[in-house]
């Protein structure tokens, strides 16, 4: 019997489900996932999780309805629920109204936040304190987000120069203030109150998390952030942590500007890390925790690296036009719906999907000029005939063709030995064979090296982060 705490994650967004998987599994939790309310209710009974992380808006039921049904069923009434949603006000109300909702997390959430809330709820459940995590009644239980910016009180006419808090403290002979340490400008002190967190109403959950966070070493946190950065660069997590405005702003910048800003941010981050200050005033006027600063560096790194990947070489000043993806998949195929959901999650991709009338494929290849062709392989039929024709076109030299098939077919294919598989792929002109449309996302999001069935490198794609 697996003694790991069981968690049921419910969200219709594939990205969020992936994020839950990436964050919770390595943290030692046994995770089961559901994509809608009905599935969640069924899995809650069967899986008997210790905690349910529930998206507030589901395709079939609202989160509150799922909670009520869980509470009404003796088999699931005891399971605490943590709501996840971008709708702060609504989940706040649900948190107050529905008995088995013990906490909530606002999207976009940070992995430490998620782990912190999960750990706190489970700890209380184990201790028999299955009650809501308390929020001060007078202050709204604000979802965890960026710390509010504090406007410097220094003379605005003079440009501030920033120093590390430690240095200032040393120079002034004073120990850093308890609780909140901030960097100060060279020409004045910033009025950041000691009870900064409380004032901003993030007392309950965040303070618990902060407590937990302080229990871990800075090195571990850096490692953890690095791991997040790595997984983010694989395209799984970045969508949730990035901000649309930030992405749009960076999109407009040249490659050189981006690199320059990233370098500047890294420099500031390094100073922050050395200072050991929890919060620091940054040159853009914001006060950020170390985590926030790293997260920002992570975001910008993603943008820079995706831009570089798109350019194919760092010598490019600007990204080339968006690479084009052509997907040929019969509507009745088992992977068609999967592909649709992946595409819905990536409106930035330049994609043409053909679900019927495959005779048009050669002409479309010539007119559309895709760099990547994803074809559902049924091994026979109209689509296959057209793929054979495309192989004869000069474009075939530059198009990477990825085959995709349902799990059952893939199992048969996978049963063959490596040589046979390679021969089958080569014969059919495919460089890679996938058994799930979701893997397409992964392939498009990263530059991978050759793997078992991998013949060529992944394509260069511009990912608008």
């Amino acid at each position: 019997m697996d003694a790991r705490p069981r968690i049921l994650g419910v969200d219709d967004s594939l990205t969020i489900r992936k994020a839950l998987e990436i964050v919770l599994k390595p943290a030692g939790y046994e995770l089961e996932l559901a994509a809608d309310g009905t599935e969640a209710l069924a899995k809650a009974k069967a899986f008997q999780p210790a905690l349910i992380l529930l998206d507030f808006i589901l395709p079939d039921l609202r989160g509150t309805e799922v909670c009520r049904q869980l509470a009404a069923d003796p088999e699931t009434a005891h399971i605490p629920v943590v709501l996840i949603s971008a709708k702060g006000a609504e989940i706040e109300q649900a948190y107050r109204d529905v008995s088995n909702v013990v906490s909530y997390i606002a999207k976009p959430f940070k992995p430490p936040m998620l782990i912190g809330v999960v750990a706190a709820v489970l700890a209380r459940a184990v201790a028999g304190e299955l009650v809501k995590l308390s929020f001060p009644e007078e202050s709204a239980p604000a979802p965890i987000g960026l710390p509010p910016q504090v406007v410097p009180t220094a003379n605005a006419s003079e440009p501030p120069s920033w120093q590390v808090a430690e240095t200032i403290a040393e120079e002034s002979g004073e120990a850093p203030a308890h609780g909140i340490e901030v960097a100060v400008s060279g020409n004045g002190t910033h009025a950041v109150p000691d009870d900064f967190d409380d004032v901003e109403g993030q007392e309950s959950i965040e303070s618990q998390l902060d407590d937990e966070a302080t229990a871990t070493t800075r090195r571990e946190r850096v490692d953890w952030m690095f791991e997040t950065l790595r997984s983010g660069l694989e395209g799984v997590y970045v969508e949730e942590v990035d901000t649309p405005t930030g992405a749009a702003a960076d999109q407009a910048k040249t490659y050189t500007d981006l690199i320059e800003q990233l370098s500047h941010q890294l420099d500031e981050g390094l100073q922050h890390a050395r200072s050991a200050a929890r919060h620091r005033l940054y040159s853009d006027g914001s006060i950020r925790s170390f985590d926030e600063a790293l997260l920002d560096v992570f975001r910008r790194s993603c943008r820079v690296l995706f831009r570089a990947a798109a350019a194919g070489t760092a010598n490019h000043e600007t990204a080339p036009p968006t690479d084009r993806i052509l997907i040929a998949c019969p509507r009745h195929s088992s992977v068609y719906e999967q592909l649709q959901s992946v595409l819905a999650a990536h409106p930035e991709w330049s994609v043409v999907v053909i679900a019927e009338n495959f005779r048009q494929l050669p002409m479309l290849v010539r007119l559309y000029g895709p760099s990547l062709l994803v074809a559902e392989i049924t091994w026979t039929g109209a689509l296959w005939d057209q793929l054979r024709l495309i192989e004869q076109m000069p474009e075939a030299q530059t198009i990477r063709t990825i085959g995709i098939m349902g799990a059952a077919q893939f199992a048969l294919f996978n049963a063959a030995d490596t040589e046979t598989r390679a021969a089958m792929l080569a014969e059919r002109g495919f460089t890679l064979l996938l058994n799930s449309a979701f893997e397409v996302e992964g392939v498009l999001n990263r530059q991978t090296g050759p793997d078992q069935d991998h013949v060529a490198d992944a394509p260069d794609l511009r990912m608008a982060v």
Binding site: R324, S350, V352, I354, N357, F358, R359, Q360, P362, M363, L364, R366, L367, Y368, G369, L389, Q392, M393
Partner: protein
Amino acid sequence: MATTGTAESSRSTRVLVFAVDDGSLCIDIDRVDTVYARNEARLHTLKDADALSCSFLIHRGEPALVVDLREAFGLSDILGLTDRAAFIVLRAGSFPLALATDACVGIRDLDLRTKTPVPSALQRDGGVSVGHLVELDGKVHTLLEPSRILSSALRQRLNPFVQEARAFCEREEEIAALTLKLKAETVFSDLKVYARLARRNGRTRAATAARMVLKAAQDGDQHAHDSGAVGGELAADTLLRDLLALSVARQTGEVELTLPSGDTAALSFAAGRIADARIAGAFGRAAVRQILALHNGAYRFIASDVPVYPPRILDAAPWLLVETIEQMAEARRSRHAR
């Protein structure tokens, strides 16, 4: 804000949507002259010295070269060329094109303010795209720019065909004008020109028929000098000659035919014109055709002062004979083809 209005309206356009190889394409309706169904369009084929062939159809007196998008997009080597159901005639630079299509779907409004057209990867000289890919009715359509459908290489290759096709059209116009003249009054010199033009324009059967009539007319002229009597056996193959001789002599009366079965047939002349014919319940042109197809029997001309009235046939006799012979040849070809 008239400028804004103009700019906005220019981004919305009406397009003719059509299908080629199951793919959806469209073209600005203002650039489309007409659409011909395949069975309505008369295609002419030209061959050059290298045995390359090109088809065209005549649209409003001008040749429109038939272009298949497979060929225009350089896919004919891989996909081959295929028969299409319709031709869209459109203005595409210096000469009109007849774009071969599988089907015309209809005319739709394309509001480019709400769509994001993607330039096609296939480009022409100067890096301009042959069109844009745009979403319409939930499907990807390629909005073609007519003047960029042909590459400069293909256009260059087609240029001699265009010249030849234009010459063909001029000859067709001459033939049409001559036909009107020949119908009204056949002058053998005009018929000679007609035969030459018809031959050059590939109307082999018409040219042959005209030459047969000319030859028969020549023989008839000679025969008229030899003897004044008109009559003989059908097996001797002299009927055509004698009919033309009667026509030239502007005779009125009836050529009476006696068939081996004992049945009779007749061709009525009115001042040198074949005004009517009858044979076994058939009259007019149909009867002329049947009579000329006979191989056995005898005929003789009986002059009369009273022409048949009303005449079923109004064309001049030589032209009637040319047309009839051509139709018979066509019928024979069809039978052989079957």
